[in-house]
């Protein structure tokens, strides 16, 4: 047996010395323990590793090295060794004298006495704490990298980096600051007290502080005690420093430093090379991810804003009513770029008028409106909307302070309202068209998350330019529309003949709403010398000022023909000839009726016009739909046959333009049926009848831009 052989041949004394020297100078802790686990020997490496001197350790139970959670394991190891087995490279935890945990790799072998019985065990322990940590940190780094690669929101990236890095390094607190212009802004933090953070929300890049230094130089700062920190940064001498050690690393991307990460430790702590390597790698990863997330957000913002501009364009193009369009623009703005948006336009007399107010919080829109109504913008003000309108130059208030509000307030109540709305950042951009400023849009942000910068102003200006163009078009259109309405009204009879002999007249003309061009609807009532009554209604094809001017020529001509004593057929024939002679290829439809109150008879001409309606005293409604002729003005060889109809006393006659029934949404016949039904129920009397029709016809039957003429007898 080899064991017996070894016992038979004791080793020479010099060999013992060799072994003793190896044990003495080993980097591994080498110790022995008896069957009960009492430490018998303890080399210098064991002293270094566990912190106990040989005197302290020898005679103590091995359990002084074993953390509570590993006690059961030690019994198992001892059992195996006492049975004669060896335990090789067993990884476990041990505890140092100072309480720190170590990760060790153990090799435990039996020691036999002269009889071959196991009476003790040798333990060789290698400290693998750092290797172990290094592996754990590498795994952690991989985990962070993978998590970060999934994050696209910069804030989430920042929070995730801080949480995982502080946890992995067992740091107490961490913060990330990002460069914003000449300042460093705190972008995220964990573990710091609010009071500790207060001073560092925002500080100049030029500050004598670790983060600012790191940002300026691109170098890391490692401080292992608060004394060292205060020595290095004298400016912090007065500051209350919560933590003992500090590591600050620059966040660098493509060679430029855009921020820094700071990690604080409660106790004075020197990071070992693995931890430093981890921190450097994690910081690089964080820099890359933050930069990527910010780019992504910027791109998304650009895309969002392009969508917004397109939406605004559509919305502005849809409406030819400038104020309605601005109202919708303000609503759109508060959905995307502002918490509060107001629009002021310059009136003809130079005063400013608020035409739109919107607030992201619907319930505050009223407050915003109240503010603008009770405290209208002072046109003489040195800054703000009046100034922007005077100069055409935008104003940007990145930071709106309470002093600024106080300065702008006209009185205490005004200040109260302003404070309640609480703008924190604002911009005012001019509405400019054809070289003149006709208004301004104000955007205000009240939330902490929104602060207007130069690029926001550029966007707002772009939005305002588009709005101005659309509004200018709409305003021009409205002016033209108003001119056409004025013209058309001026061309219609100023008044109708007064009621006589129980015969009453009334007429309504509803001009088209802005957005619809004025039509060429016209009517005329003439009472001739012999007492007969002539009522005419017509509709010139086409719209706008041209159509209005055509009907402006027709009406007096027709009136002259009638007063000259021409009957319906001849009067209409002459009108047709007049139109053709003028060679303008204008066209009008016409319903022309002459009524003789004495005989109770009427005759009419219908030229391309829908039938008039006649309600008899018994309620019967008759369509005056005698065979018609084409419209006037363009066709040769047209005869205008007359049709006769009895109009007994107690009748109600209704003439109308085809706007009343010629709607693309509603079928002619159906519209006519509905008109007849409503007309059947109308009260007697021309004025009463028209009022009734206006009240009772569905909006799709009685649109804007329609004329009605009624006669009752």
């Amino acid at each position: 047996m080899p064991a017996a052989d070894r016992r038979a041949r004791p080793a020479p004394p010099e060999i013992h010395d060799h072994f003793a020297a190896i044990v003495e100078f080993s980097d591994d802790a080498i110790l022995s323990k008896d069957r009960k686990g009492i430490i018998l020997s303890w080399n210098p490496a064991a002293e270094r590793m566990y912190g106990y001197s040989a005197e302290e350790a020898v005679g103590q139970p091995i359990s002084i090295l074993i953390p509570d959670h590993r006690v059961g394991e030690e019994h198992m190891i001892l059992d195996r060794v006492l049975r004669g087995d060896r335990v090789d490279h067993y990884e476990t935890d041990r505890v140092r004298k100072d309480g720190r945990l170590l990760t060790v790799s153990l090799t435990v072998s039996p020691i036999r006495d002269a009889d071959g019985a196991v009476n003790a065990a040798s333990v060789i322990a290698r400290d693998i704490t750092r290797r172990h940590r290094s592996l754990a940190l590498a795994a952690k780094l991989q985990e962070i990298t993978s998590e970060l690669s999934r994050e696209v929101a910069a804030q989430r990236v920042i929070d995730l980096v801080l949480q995982t890095v502080t946890a992995a390094l067992r740091a107490e607190a961490g913060a990330i600051g990002l460069v914003e212009g000449e300042e460093i802004e705190l972008a995220g933090s964990v573990g710091y007290s609010e009071a500790g953070l207060a001073a560092w929300e925002r500080f100049p890049v030029s500050a004598e502080a670790p983060m600012a230094h790191s940002v300026r130089t691109g170098q890391s700062v490692w401080m292992t005690s608060s004394e060292a920190l205060k020595e290095r940064f004298p400016a912090l001498r007065e500051a209350s420093v919560q933590f003992a050690s500090l590591a600050v690393l620059p966040l660098t991307s493509a060679g430029s430093t855009f921020g820094a990460i700071s990690i604080s430790f409660a106790e004075a702590r020197e990071l070992d090379p693995e931890e430093r390597a981890f921190l450097v790698a994690a910081t690089q990863q964080a820099a890359y991810s933050i930069e990527r997330a910010r780019l992504f957000e910027a791109e998304r913002l650009v895309a969002e804003r392009q969508t917004l501009l397109a939406k605004a364009g559509e919305l502005l193009a849809e409406s030819l009513d400038p104020e309605a369009a601005l109202g919708r623009l303000a609503k759109l703005a508060v959905l995307h770029v502002a918490d509060w948006c107001g629009v002021e336009l310059v009136d003809d007399d130079g005063s400013l008028r608020n035409v739109a107010v919107a607030h992201a919080d619907e319930s505050r829109t009223e407050l915003a409106r109240e503010l603008r109504e009770r405290y209208p913008v002072d046109p003489r003000a040195e800054t703000g909307v009046p100034h922007v309108i005077r100069t055409g130059v935008s104003e940007l208030y990145t930071e709106v302070t309470d002093e600024m509000l106080a300065g702008a307030a006209q009185d205490e109540e005004h200040l109260r309202l302003l404070r309640e709305l609480g703008p924190r950042s604002a911009m005012i951009v001019p509405l400019t068209a054809r070289g003149s400023v006709f208004g301004a849009i104000t955007f205000a942000a009240s939330g902490a998350d929104r602060r207007y910068e130069d690029e926001d102003l550029a966007f707002a200006e772009d939005l305002a330019r588009r709005a101005a163009l659309a509004i200018d078009n709409a305003m021009l259109f409205r002016r033209e529309h108003e001119a056409a309405v004025t013209l058309q009204r001026s061309l219609l009879p100023e008044s109708l003949p007064p009621a006589h002999d129980g015969i009453e007249f009334d007429a309504r003309y509803r001009p088209a709403a802005p957005g619809l061009e004025v039509g060429g609807d016209w009517y005329e009532v003439v009472v001739t010398d012999d007492g007969s009554v002539v009522v005419t209604i017509g509709d010139v094809a086409g719209r706008g000022i041209l159509a209005a001017s055509v009907m402006g020529r027709l009406r007096p001509a027709l009136r002259a023909y009638v007063l000259d004593g021409h009957g319906p057929s001849e009067a209409v024939r002459r009108l047709d000839r007049l139109m053709k002679e003028q060679g303008r290829a204008e066209m009008t439809t016409l319903f022309h009726l002459q009524y003789d109150p004495v005989s109770g008879r009427a005759s009419y001409v219908r030229a391309g016009h829908p039938p008039a309606l006649l309600r008899l005293a018994d309620g019967t409604v008759v369509e005056l739909d005698g065979r018609g002729t084409p419209p006037l003005g363009i066709l040769d060889d047209v005869e205008f046959p007359e049709h006769a109809v009895e109009v007994p006393r107690g009748s109600l006659l209704l003439l109308y333009t085809d706007g009343l029934i010629e709607r693309r949404e509603v079928d002619f016949a159906e519209a006519l049926t509905r008109l007849k039904a409503t007309f059947a129920g109308a009260p007697h009397g021309a004025a009463e009848c028209l009022a009734w029709l206006e009240r009772n016809l569905e909006p799709d039957i009685i649109p804007d831009d329609v004329a009605m003429l009624a006669m009752s007898n």
Binding site: P630, E662, R664
Partner: protein, 128 residues
């Protein structure tokens, strides 16, 4: 506003029927103030005018107002008697034509064949 309005499409085709060269103009969509000029331009173009006869097929016109009607009437008068319009029965255009009593002015027909016949007949009348 006419922002939702479908753009007016106008097709022109020339055909020879017997010894007669016919242009067939087919507007598709709504004809109103906003685009009556387009129809007018096509009806006045050489493709439509250097033929013996002109047929306007209105069966795919979903709506026509008085501006469209005016263009139609003026063209019918210019080409008289070598003009006919094809109008779908019960259509909005048919009701407009009925309302303003111009069916005979534009030689309204229910089909292309009928339109050709009407042109032939009108031509014969004019010739005789």
């Amino acid at each position: 506003m006419t922002s939702e309005q479908e753009p007016l499409q106008i097709a022109v085709e020339q055909r020879t029927v017997g010894a007669v060269k016919v242009a067939i103009v087919t507007p598709v969509g709504e004809v109103d103030l906003a685009n009556a000029d387009e129809l007018s331009a096509v009806l006045g173009s050489s493709q439509a005018t250097d033929t013996d006869s002109l047929i306007v097929d209105l069966r795919q016109v979903s709506f026509m107002d008085s501006s469209g009607l005016r263009v139609l009437l003026m063209t019918a008068q210019d080409r008289e008697p070598h003009f006919a319009a094809v109008v779908g029965p019960e259509s909005a255009v048919a009701r407009l034509i009925d309302l303003v009593d111009v069916a005979d002015r534009i030689h309204a027909a229910a089909s292309e064949d009928e339109a050709l016949l009407r042109i032939e007949a009108a031509g014969a009348d004019a010739g005789g």
